[in-house]
């Protein structure tokens, strides 16, 4: 899933300063799961913005809508009636949600209320961790299903650096050293030979950015 965090309220207020009527759009998929931009978060941001504007003596009218996926144009088109009533749209989707709205309503200023952080998974209650860099050249077969490209700070392919600190990463003692995890997993599976191999430099152009995949349904 895509993980995002809401921008600070002050940054959002600065973006929408001057507008009197806006639409806040939530997204019902990834950012709902990571508590950043679902229906509840739309309601919270809405009331925070109203309150703050009132305090400053400004009237701000806010419409709310949450669609299942902002990254699907057909679903975004359903926002048309509401979009026509406002001066600006504040998207609580990830970056891939903001852009379809901006594309479908090219006359409408669209602002991001979130910072999209990574592709990841929940690690515990309210904690999400990055697990995939979307590099386009999956390496997980060689590392026991633990990605060093994203879980090692330096993205090393051939084993740990000298910064392994009691199995943690030298730059953050809260984070596991990916290569310690990989070593243990491969050892457990009797596959340490995979770690003894030399892996040549990565192909950083495995996906030519911006990425595009053309495929047919199976």
């Amino acid at each position: 899933m895509i993980v995002a965090e809401r921008k600070p309220l002050e940054d959002i207020r600065e973006m929408i300063a001057g507008y009197k009527k806006i639409l806040i759009v939530g997204c019902g998929t990834c950012v709902t799961i990571c508590w950043a931009g679902g229906e509840k978060e739309v309601a919270v941001l809405s009331s925070q913005l109203r309150l703050a504007s009132k305090k400053d003596g400004n009237e701000l009218e806010i419409l709310e809508a949450t669609i299942e996926r902002q990254c699907e144009k057909e679903l975004v088109e359903a926002l048309k009636d509401k979009v026509q009533q406002v001066e600006a749209v504040l998207s609580m989707g990830c970056g891939a949600g903001v852009q379809p709205i901006a594309e479908i309503f090219p006359d409408m200023p669209v602002y991001p209320a979130l910072n999209t952080t990574f592709v990841g998974m929940p690690e515990g209650e309210g904690v999400w961790v990055e697990t995939c860099r979307a590099c386009g050249d999956c390496f997980l077969d060689k590392t026991g299903g633990i990605c060093p490209i994203v879980r090692c700070a330096k993205g090393l392919l051939n084993g740990p650096c000298g910064g392994t600190n009691n199995g943690k990463c030298e730059i953050d003692s809260e984070k596991d050293c990916a290569w310690t995890l990989i070593y243990r997993r491969l050892e457990q599976q009797g596959r340490l030979d995979a770690m003894r191999k030399y892996y040549p430099p990565r192909n950083f152009q495995a996906v030519i950015r911006p990425g595009k995949v053309e495929t047919l349904p199976a």
Partner: protein, 296 residues
């Protein structure tokens, strides 16, 4: 003219290298003084490459200065700041200017340094860099293209004998050996019993692997404790911390020199490994005293 480091390595003598940290800025006075102070006292001088992710005068430029002044430089190269093309180009240039030794490092992460928002490159890792040197040596570049004039380097690498856990570190070490690393300079070591165990493993692997034990000058008991808590792969035994604590203010560095000298003597007398790499970390001035204390 200094003797080529490769020759020194193969001569069977106890090898001694030290390290120069370039300045932040263009005032090279102190740097040149340090080069002149050390160039004839050690077999080769490493030059750090934006050490600890702090932007400084370049390693390559400092190596040229060492060369000009008659010393034997070891170019430290990290993968943090340059992609493969930039690293290759720097090596072509270094070779043409008589720099024949390179130490292949991954490099510290960006955020520990003084340009915390910079992009960390890591296009290659230390092992791939080592392979790259060998590829350039074969007359090709990493794109598979022919070079008009190849390079020849004595290429080394690093190892952390006190890494925890040690097994993944040793797997990488073995990969560096297979990639043809001609020498290893270790992370700081203080516990010679632990280091002897590491050396027993190394000798069991291949008798010809050249290991230079990392000797980092202790400047105070506080520094020793700090390193134990914060520097990965460094372990200062309590007896040495206690010994540092007995030194009065103003005599602590002297005590550190004494300890470093003692470690060097024991390593040399017992032929534990092939030499030492002395890192005074900003106190290049006292390296001659460490050498004297070590009987070198």
């Amino acid at each position: 003219m200094a003797k080529a480091f490769k020759e020194t390595l193969n001569s069977g003598k106890f090898v001694v290298t030290s390290e120069i940290g370039p300045p932040k800025g263009t005032n090279l006075e102190k740097l040149i003084h340090h080069i002149d102070l050390l160039k004839d006292k050690v077999d080769a001088l490493n030059v750090t490459d934006n050490q600890s992710s702090v932007m400084r005068f370049p390693s390559l430029g400092t190596c040229l200065l060492i060369k000009e002044r008659g010393g034997e430089p070891i170019l430290q190269m990290t993968c943090r700041d340059r992609n493969r093309m930039a690293l290759e180009a720097d090596l072509l240039f270094a070779y043409t200017r008589g720099i024949k030794n390179v130490l292949c490092l991954t490099g510290d992460f960006i955020t520990i340094g003084d340009h915390k928002e910079a992009r960390a490159v890591f296009d290659l890792d230390s092992l791939q860099l080592l392979h790259m040197v060998r590829i350039l040596q074969s007359g090709k570049d990493l794109g598979g293209n022919e070079l008009d004039g190849a390079v020849e380097f004595c290429a080394g690498a690093t190892v952390t004998p006190e890494a925890n856990p040690i097994e993944p570190q040793l797997i990488k070490f073995e990969k560096k050996v297979q990639a043809g690393a001609e020498f290893f300079q270790t992370q700081a070591i203080y516990d010679l019993d632990n280091f002897k165990k590491f050396m027993k493993y190394v000798r069991g692997l291949d008798k010809n692997i050249k290991i230079l034990a990392g000797i980092v000058l202790l400047a105070s008991a506080g520094m020793a404790k700090y390193m134990n808590e914060n520097t990965p792969g460094v372990f200062v035994p309590q007896v040495l911390i206690d010994e540092m604590a007995t030194a009065e203010k103003g005599k602590r560095v002297q005590k550190g020199i004494e300890i470093a000298g003692r470690l060097i003597r024991q390593i040399k007398e017992e032929a534990i490994c092939d030499g030492v790499h002395i890192m005074a970390i900003g106190r290049e001035e006292v390296v001659p005293d460490i050498l004297a204390a070590g009987g070198l």
